[in-house]
């Protein structure tokens, strides 16, 4: 058959195939842009860090300044999780992490890097990097399998699934990120007495 005929034939049969319709993607895109901006914000310069340290020293010298110090502490998350590999039994635990801190969960040859980042009063972003740590044919021992990221509500269970090329679920992480209350931050400030 001539190519022109083939082309006409496929023009005709493909005319009936509708495009797949997505839902409105803008809310997620908008959120992704905000997250990207936060991540790409330049780190503080030496001078800024120095100034900030000086500011803390000044605050410390003011009586009743403990609230100010408390506000400067990074948020802490205590997240109950369960990890399920394929159809195996889920492994459960609790992950304590500071805002934006990367923590690791191991399950056999799989390694999960979990980052819980505060978004606002109600929401957090859970970013996962799933690695296979067995030896690969090319000699490497750490291959990134998937890098999903989801928006989750604080105190509510969120689920992240990793699927294989056939769409079959191979990995599932369930997590309930809970922000620790300000009362959970405890500490004392003792005066240093010379000669003691």
């Amino acid at each position: 058959m001539k190519d022109n005929d083939l082309e006409k034939m496929f023009d005709t049969v493909c005319a009936d195939i509708p495009l797949k319709e997505p839902r409105d993607l803008w809310p997620e895109v908008s959120l992704g842009i905000k997250v990207r901006r936060e991540q790409s914000r330049p780190s503080r310069t030496f001078w800024a860090a120095g100034f900030s340290a000086a500011a803390v020293l000044i605050v410390l010298s003011i009586p009743g300044a403990s609230e100010n110090i408390k506000n400067g502490i990074r948020k802490l998350f205590s997240s109950a999780y369960s990890v399920q590999l394929g159809e195996g039994a889920p492994v459960r635990g609790t992950l304590i992490s500071a805002d934006g801190e990367v923590k690791e969960i191991r399950s056999g040859d799989m390694l999960l890097e979990v980052r819980v980042t505060n978004m606002d009063e109600q929401r957090v972003i859970i970013a996962l990097s799933v690695f296979y740590t067995g030896k690969q044919p090319d000699g490497s021992v750490r291959k990134l399998i998937a890098k999903p990221k989801i928006l989750a509500m604080k105190g509510k269970s969120a689920e992240v699934s990793v699927t294989d090329i056939h769409g079959k679920q191979v990995y599932k992480l369930k997590m309930t990120p809970v922000e620790k209350s300000p009362a959970a931050y405890t500490g004392t400030l003792s005066p240093v007495i010379p000669g003691h």
Partner: protein, 199 residues
């Protein structure tokens, strides 16, 4: 539907001058094609949504590097394709991991393309046309990635060869060859079952 008659480069100009919310217009205008391409490459609605969203975020971040003499759509296609290809490579890796759970179970077949429920199809729609269309979509899904991409961009998204060449970074002649090979394979596969359509 589009809410504006502005061209893509004009909208890009507005976003770059600080009207970041104008980027929503670009998302609304192009999400359907990019999602459709991502879905046909991955066969998974969640994955396709994630790829499309990631692509838009990447476009936003790299908007200052977008050359306005090129079509925004082609640039958007290129970014989406790169993300989709990287995802497919990662997913393909799962097949080689020494874990039994990554192999399909007995009876489970290879590529599964989810078919979203078709809105508005009348009950008396011709079943054979539907069957043929479904078989054609499955056959397209089973094509090698590079043939599949060229075929989709040409026959389903109705892009001219010149634009596909710009998107894929290959010559127009190479695009034509890929589309030709795709047509040949599809016709060979579908003619025995649907001779009335593929003659």
């Amino acid at each position: 539907m589009d809410e504006t008659d502005e061209t893509d480069p004009q909208i890009v100009g507005r976003v770059l001058s600080g009207e970041t919310d104008a980027f929503k217009l670009l998302v609304n205008r192009h999400q359907r094609l990019l999602y459709d391409l991502s879905f046909r490459l991955t066969g998974n609605t969640t994955e396709a949504e994630d790829i499309t969203q990631t692509a838009f975020v990447k476009m936003f971040s790299g908007l200052s590097s977008y050359k306005r003499e090129l079509a925004f759509k082609n640039w958007a296609y290129t970014i989406t394709l790169n993300i989709a290809r990287n995802r497919l490579k990662r997913k393909a890796l799962l097949r080689f991991l020494p874990l039994g759970i990554f192999s399909p179970k007995n009876g489970e077949d290879e590529v599964r393309v989810q078919e979203p429920v078709e809105a508005g199809s009348s009950p008396d729609a011709r079943l054979d046309t539907k069957d043929m269309r479904s078989s054609l979509e499955s056959a397209i899904a089973a094509l090698p990635e590079e043939l599949k991409t060229s075929f989709i961009l040409y026959h389903l998204h109705k892009n001219p060869v010149k634009d596909i060449s710009e998107t894929l970074g290959i010559s127009p002649n190479a695009v034509n060859i890929r589309i030709y090979k795709a047509r040949e394979r599809l016709a060979k596969k579908l003619t025995p079952e649907y001779p009335e359509y593929f003659r």
